[in-house]
Amino acid sequence: MVNKLRFVFSGALIVVLAAFCPVSERGCVSQVALAQAGVPPVPTPPPYPTVGVRTGVYNDGQAALWDLNITDHFHYFGPPQRARGYKPEQPIKFSHVIHVQQNRMECQYCHWSVAKASYAAIPEVETCIGCHKLVNGKDDAAKAEIQKIKDYYDKGQPIPWVKVHVMPDYLKFNHKRHVKAGVSCQECHGQIPEMEEVQRVSSMKMGWCISCHRERGASIDCLVCHGHK
C-alpha cells in the first residue's frame, strides 16, 4: 500500500518535472506510461530517487532568447548533437529503466571510473557479460539484444555506442571532481534511470555550467575548464 503510494507520488513528480522541461518530456512521459502500465517491479522497493535536473540554458536571466530558444531548444543553427533532446539510436537497445530503475543497479557499478577519473567511461563489454552470462532476457526482443552483446564479446569487438553528450573541443570536464563534490548524475544527465533510450536533457552550454558554478560557489576561473583542454 505504502509502496503503491510512493509509486504514484514519484510518477506525479515525474509528470511535474516533465512539465518544466519541455524537451525531455517525451522521455519522461513515456516512462510514466511505462511505469503505470508496466509490471510493478518485484519486490517493489522505492523507485530510483529523482533529483532536480538542471534543464535549459538559464543564467540568471542573462542568456539571450535566441540562445535559449532558437539555437538550443529548436536547435536551429548549430549541431543537433549539442542540443537538448538529442537521442541517437544505439547499437543495442540498452534500457536504463530495467537496469537502474527496476533492478536497482548503482550508476557506478557499470560506470565505475566516474569517481576515479575525469572520464565516466562506458562499461567494458566484459562488464555486461558478467551478468548476461546468466541473464538471458525474458522475451525474444530482450534475448535478441542480449545475444548482440554476446556476439560482440565473442568477436572481441567493442560495442560502437553512439555518444549522446557530444561536447565541443577545448573543454576539460572532470567527472571525479563533480561526483566528489556531491553533484548527482541526474543533475546534468537527467532522469537516466527513467529513460528507455538515453537522451540529452540539458543544454550543457557554458552559461548552464556557470550558473551552477556560481550557485555552489565553485570556481569560475576560465582555466578550470579551458586553456589546457
Binding site: 543564467n59 542573462q62 542568456a63 539571450a64 540562445d67 539555437t71 557554458m206 552559461g207 556557470i210
Partner: protein
C-alpha cells in the same frame, strides 16, 4: 553672403539662380551612359577579386596573408586606418565647416559625405577580415549570450567597435537627412516610373513647408554639433589602438592629434581626387569653382604642415626620451631595411604638398589631381610605416622578423577600392551628389526689390 557675392563679382558672371542649380544638379541623374556602366563594372570586378581572395584566405588559413611572427598586423590594419582616415574629411567638411559657416563647403560637402559613409563601410570590413577567426567577430559585441560572457571594455579594439559603428551610424544619418530635401526636388522632376517610386520613398514625402524647414534646420545644426566632436574622437580612438600599446614606435601621446590631422589631410586629398573627374564629367564648373579648390588646397597645406610636425616630434621624443628601444626604432625607420617606405611617405606628405604655397598651383586642377593621388599613397605609407616598421623591430632582437607580402593581401586591398568605388558610382547616378538645397541657401533669394535681399 558677401563672401559669395564678391566671388561672383570678380568672376563677372551672372549669379547662379535656383532654377539653374536645380537643373544642373538633376542633370547628373539623367540615365547613365556606357562610360558609367564601364566604371561600375570595373569596380564590381575589383570587388569580386577582393571577395574571392578573402574567401580563399579563410579557407586556406590566415597564413595566406603576409603576416608573421612578430608582425601580427600588416596590410589589413593599414587599410583600416587608411579608410577611416579617408572617412574623416567628409564629416569635417560637412559638419565642422558648417558650424564655421565656411561657404566654400556647399558644393563639395555632399560628395565628401557620401565618401565618408562609403569609406567607413570599407574601413569597417578590415577589422573583420584581419581576424584569425572572422566567424566569431560577433563576440566583440556586448550582447547577452549563452556563454554568460562579455567583451573586455578595457581593450582599445573594443573602443574601435564602438567608435567606428557610432561614426558610421551618425555620418550615415547626417548624410541621409541632408539628402531628404534634395531627393524631394529630384522626385518633383522625376520622369521615369522607377525614379518616381525611388525618390518618392526615399524623400519620405518631404514637402518643405515652413514648419518642416524649421525643425529640419535646427536638427541639422544639432547633427553638426554631434558630428564635430565625433570626427575628433573616432580617429583618436583608432590611434589609441597603437598608442595604448607598449610597442616602441606606437606608444606615443602625440598619436591622437597626429592621426586626426593625418585623417583630414588624406580625406581632403581624396575629395579632390574624386571631385575633379566628377566636375569634368558632369560639367559642374559653375558650381565648383577654383575658389573651392583654392580653399581645399589651403586646408591640405595646413594639415600637411601639422602632419610633418608630428613626424618630427616623433623623432625628437624618441631621441629625448633616451629610451634604447624608441631610439633604435626611429633610427631604423629612415635608415633600416625598409627606408623606401619612410622616405616615400616623407616626400608625398611633407615635401610635395609644399608646392601649394603657389596660388597658381592651388587652382591648377591637373596638378591638384596628381598631388592628391600622391598624398593618398603617402598616407597609406604612413600607416604602413607606423604599424609594420614598429613591429619588425621590437624589444627582443632574437624575435625580430620580416614581412612577406602575399598576393592575397593585394587582392583584398584592390577589392576594397572596388567596394568603395561601386557605392560611389551608384550614388552619383541615383542621388544628387551636389547639395541642391544648400547651394540655393547661399544664393540670394529672388526678391522683387533685391536691395532688401542682399542684407539680412
Amino acid at each position: 553672403m558677401e563672401h559669395t557675392h564678391n566671388d561672383h563679382d570678380h568672376k563677372h558672371e551672372p549669379p547662379v539662380s535656383y532654377a539653374e542649380v536645380n537643373d544642373t544638379v538633376l542633370k547628373m541623374l539623367e540615365p547613365p551612359g556606357t562610360g558609367w556602366f564601364l566604371l561600375l563594372f570595373t569596380c564590381l570586378f575589383f570587388l569580386a577579386i577582393g571577395a574571392s581572395c578573402w574567401f580563399y584566405q579563410m579557407w586556406a588559413g590566415f597564413g595566406e596573408s603576409g603576416k608573421s611572427h612578430p608582425i601580427g598586423w600588416g596590410t589589413y590594419i593599414t587599410n583600416f586606418v587608411f579608410w577611416v582616415g579617408i572617412a574623416h574629411s567628409g564629416t569635417l567638411i560637412s559638419a565642422v565647416l558648417y558650424l564655421f559657416r565656411a561657404n566654400f563647403r556647399q558644393p563639395i560637402y555632399r560628395l565628401a559625405e557620401a565618401m565618408t559613409v562609403f569609406a567607413v563601410m570599407t574601413a569597417g570590413l578590415f577589422p573583420i577580415i584581419h581576424l584569425g577567426r572572422p566567424w566569431y567577430a560577433l563576440w566583440l559585441i556586448p550582447y547577452p549570450n549563452e556563454r554568460a560572457l562579455w567583451p573586455n571594455f578595457r581593450s582599445p579594439l573594443l573602443w574601435d567597435v564602438f567608435a567606428v559603428s557610432t561614426y558610421f551610424t551618425i555620418s550615415a544619418t547626417f548624410f541621409f537627412v541632408g539628402l531628404i530635401p534634395d531627393i524631394a526636388a529630384a522626385r518633383d522632376r522625376a520622369t521615369t516610373r522607377f525614379r518616381k517610386v525611388l525618390y518618392g520613398v526615399t524623400s519620405l514625402g518631404w514637402r518643405g513647408s515652413h514648419a518642416q524647414w524649421k525643425h529640419y534646420t535646427s536638427a541639422y545644426l544639432i547633427f553638426a554639433a554631434f558630428a564635430t566632436p565625433l570626427v575628433v574622437s573616432v580617429h583618436s580612438v583608432v590611434s589609441w589602438d597603437f598608442a595604448m600599446s607598449i610597442v616602441p614606435g606606437w606608444h606615443a601621446t602625440i598619436f591622437p592629434p597626429y592621426f586626426v590631422a593625418g585623417a583630414i589631410f588624406s580625406g581632403v586629398a581624396m575629395v579632390i581626387t574624386l571631385i575633379i573627374p566628377l566636375r569634368k564629367a558632369f560639367n559642374l564648373h559653375r558650381l565648383i569653382t577654383p575658389v573651392h579648390f583654392d580653399a581645399m588646397s589651403k586646408l591640405i597645406l595646413l594639415t600637411s604642415g601639422v602632419v610633418s610636425y608630428s613626424y618630427i616630434t616623433e623623432f625628437y621624443t624618441a631621441w629625448f626620451s633616451n629610451n634604447t628601444f624608441e631610439r633604435f626604432q626611429f633610427w631604423f625607420r629612415p635608415f633600416g631595411e625598409y627606408w623606401t617606405a619612410f622616405w616615400g611617405m616623407t616626400f608625398c606628405n611633407c615635401i610635395f604638398p609644399q608646392l601649394l604655397w603657389f596660388k597658381s598651383l592651388r587652382t591648377n586642377i591637373t596638378f591638384l589631381f596628381i598631388l592628391s593621388i600622391f598624398i593618398n599613397i603617402g598616407m597609406w605609407l604612413e600607416r604602413f610605416n607606423i604599424i609594420f616598421q614598429s613591429l619588425t623591430r621590437e624589444f627582443i632582437p632574437a624575435a625580430w622578423g620580416g614581412y612577406n607580402f602575399s598576393w592575397i593581401e593585394i587582392g583584398i586591398t584592390v577589392g576594397a577600392f572596388g567596394w568603395f568605388g561601386m557605392w560611389m558610382t551608384l550614388f552619383i547616378k541615383y542621388f544628387p551628389s551636389v547639395a541642391i538645397t544648400e547651394i540655393k541657401e547661399v544664393l540670394p533669394p529672388p526678391m522683387r526689390n533685391s536691395n532688401s535681399g542682399a542684407h539680412h
